[in-house]
């Protein structure tokens, strides 16, 4: 029997394909050849316009790469307070954002799967806002921060036990390219 195949599909584009996610590293573009004396990265600290030598990262790219291991905060059950052990994550990201004022971060708030999905959007938003407030308190400009809550909709790991839940209650620091 044929299925009723009325295809009223709205195919939706990926919205965030260009963003650097915490677990990925985008390789650096090889810089164009220059006729200047070769500049080596790591010494020239100026932000915009710094050009690395062939095959190396700019200072900003290096700084961003260093954040790769400090771009997620995990939360206790039913809590949106930043646990003590993750305050250094806030500090590290705040330092980067202050140093590079054109940099932008998106804070993505998430929950574990328990409870009502739309209420969990609220909990994820509350977590993202808490981190945002902590960044502002350290001097980051408000214009550099956006927040989004995915609630329980985008878990980091599948699973229905406490170990999975603990990895899903999180705020991720996402730096769009």
């Amino acid at each position: 029997m044929k299925l009723i195949r009325v295809l009223a599909v709205a195919v939706l584009a990926l919205g965030v394909a260009a963003c650097q996610k915490p677990t990925q590293t985008k390789p650096a573009e090889p810089p164009p050849a220059t006729t200047d004396a070769a500049t080596t990265s790591g010494i020239d600290d100026s932000a915009a316009g710094a050009r690395g030598g062939s095959g190396t990262l700019t200072p900003q790219q290096q700084a961003l790469a260093a954040l790769k291991t400090r771009n997620v905060i995990y939360f206790d059950y039913d809590s949106s307070g930043i646990p003590q052990e993750y305050l250094s994550v806030v500090t590290a990201n705040a330092a980067y954002l202050i140093k590079y004022p054109t940099a932008r971060v998106r804070l993505e708030g998430n929950t574990d799967e328990r409870g009502s999905p739309e209420y969990n959007i609220g909990l994820g938003e509350r977590r993202a806002q808490t981190v945002r407030t902590a960044l502002l308190a350290q001097g980051v400009a408000a214009a550099q921060i956006t927040t989004v809550s995915y609630g329980e909709e985008r878990p980091a790991v599948e699973g229905h036990d406490e170990a999975a839940y603990a990895q899903n209650r999180r705020v991720e620091f996402v730096y769009p390219q």
Binding site: L3, V9, V11, L12, G115, E118, Q129
Partner: protein, 437 residues
């Protein structure tokens, strides 16, 4: 009641489609949700639906199969297994009451498909009294035989219970495939029995919260396709849609006013999640809640004057009500258990379904006059309850064998079933209103 192997039909896998219902008596044509009866009504009424004359037995167009499945789905009836139906009367006059009394069945449905006349005729016979309780000739009129069969089910159900049948209504739900972080999301509309699934939207970003307009023509839903949440309204007949809210911050939890002109929404544009009412024709926005807490998941009373919603202003999620026209008149509704969320008002306005934390997250119904709470389910992660438009049943999301599936429960909790997807996980179901008569 176990579904025998002989009853199972081969399932034609169609990878593009979400699984639908597979009944005991119906050959699933495409991936179907499998119906499991987990707990039946103790006094489920035994009824025999005799294979209709004028059509081959078996296959998805077997009218008697569909009717049996519908009656079983309601939880109130125990249809006779086909193997136990040895006679084939096709008219009331051919029904030998003594034979049916031996089978301990209370009612018999007999009928015939007449393709030349373009009709399906049937009678409902009371086995004990011999009374012919219904006799109808239904025009096929361009419908599928399944649709006509659902009408037979509605008529039989209503005649025997006094309640309008929901077998011609639909479900919307979200189907999720793949594993984090590579999930794919679909918004699916199917028949109430899970048959005929149709993908109406799909995305690699989350889709949430489908909500039927009162005329059953449109779905509002939340999509993250732009990277952030936005609320869309999509016309089901042609797929046209418009984005009705893409304000800064959260856009969520759409709920249609009973007159179809407004959406209650959750927005965080003023700093934290609050309930707003959006006038669809003008985009005029009215703020309803102003508390600093999370206020979300609004649902309308049938008279359109009250909104029930979830708020954690008291420190944990509880349900509150607010008068749409007197917004400082906010009252707390739930006091039992430490978590109550996702209110859904029954069609008659007398009851409130919700998710409550009672040893596990479970579906409960509160009598709004008596303020008593009855827990209907016993899962650990039951959520997203939605009333059938006759108020007699709810669909909700639950677990079965490690997958997310849909559950059906009667409003009095007496019967419970599951609709399990062949593939992936199914969540956030919404039961359609009655189609316009």
């Amino acid at each position: 009641m176990r579904i025998s192997q002989a009853r199972r039909r081969a399932i034609v896998g169609r990878t593009a489609w979400i699984a639908l219902v597979a009944f005991a008596y119906v050959a699933p044509a495409a991936a179907q949700l499998r119906l499991d009866i987990t707990e039946g009504v103790k006094d489920a009424v035994p009824v025999a639906v005799v294979p209709f004359a004028g059509q081959p037995e078996g296959g998805p167009n077997d009218v008697a199969d569909v009717v049996s499945g519908d009656l079983r789905l309601s939880g109130r009836f125990a249809p006779l297994e086909r193997a136990d139906i040895v006679e084939r009367p096709s008219q009331a006059s051919e029904v030998r009451l003594e034979d049916w009394r031996l089978l301990k069945t209370d009612y018999v449905v007999v009928g015939r498909v007449a393709p030349d006349a373009g009709t399906v005729g049937f009678e409902l016979v009371n086995v004990r009294t011999g009374q012919q309780m219904l006799a109808e000739q239904l025009p096929v009129a361009g419908r599928t035989l399944r649709a006509v069969a659902h009408q037979v089910s509605d008529l039989v159900y209503e005649r025997l219970t006094g309640i309008r049948g929901v077998f011609g209504t639909r479900l919307a739900y979200v189907a999720v495939e793949g594993r984090a972080p590579n999930r794919n999301y679909r918004l699916v509309v199917s028949d109430a029995d899970g048959y005929n699934p149709r993908t109406v939207a799909q995305s690699s970003q989350p889709l949430m919260s489908p909500a039927w307009s009162p005329d059953a023509q449109n779905l509002a839903y939340v999509s993250f396709e732009g990277g952030v949440s936005a609320v869309y309204v999509q016309r089901l007949s042609n797929g046209e849609r418009r984005r009705v809210s893409a304000r800064a911050g959260v856009n969520g939890a759409p709920s249609w006013s009973p007159d179809g002109t407004r959406l209650a929404l959750t927005l965080s544009r003023d700093g934290n999640l609050d309930i707003y009412v959006l006038e669809l024709a003008t985009q005029a926005l009215t703020r309803i809640t102003t508390d600093e807490a999370i206020d979300t998941e609004a649902d309308w009373s049938p008279d359109g004057r009250t909104l029930y919603f979830t708020s954690d202003r008291a420190g944990n999620a509880q349900i509150y009500r607010v008068s749409v026209d007197a917004r400082d008149d906010v009252q707390r509704v739930t006091y039992t258990n430490s978590y109550n969320a996702r209110p859904r008002v029954s069609p008659d306005g007398q009851s409130l379904a919700m998710v409550t934390l009672d040893r596990g997250y479970r579906i409960a119904v509160m009598d709004l006059k008596a303020r008593t709470l009855r827990v209907l389910t016993d899962g650990s992660q039951d959520e997203s309850p939605s009333y059938a438009p006759n108020g007699a049943m709810l669909v909700y999301a639950t677990d079965a064998r490690g997958a997310r599936v849909l559950g059906l429960v009667s409003a009095d909790g007496a019967s419970r079933e599951r609709l399990a997807s062949e593939r992936g996980n199914v969540r956030e179901p919404a039961w359609s209103p009655f189609p316009a008569r």
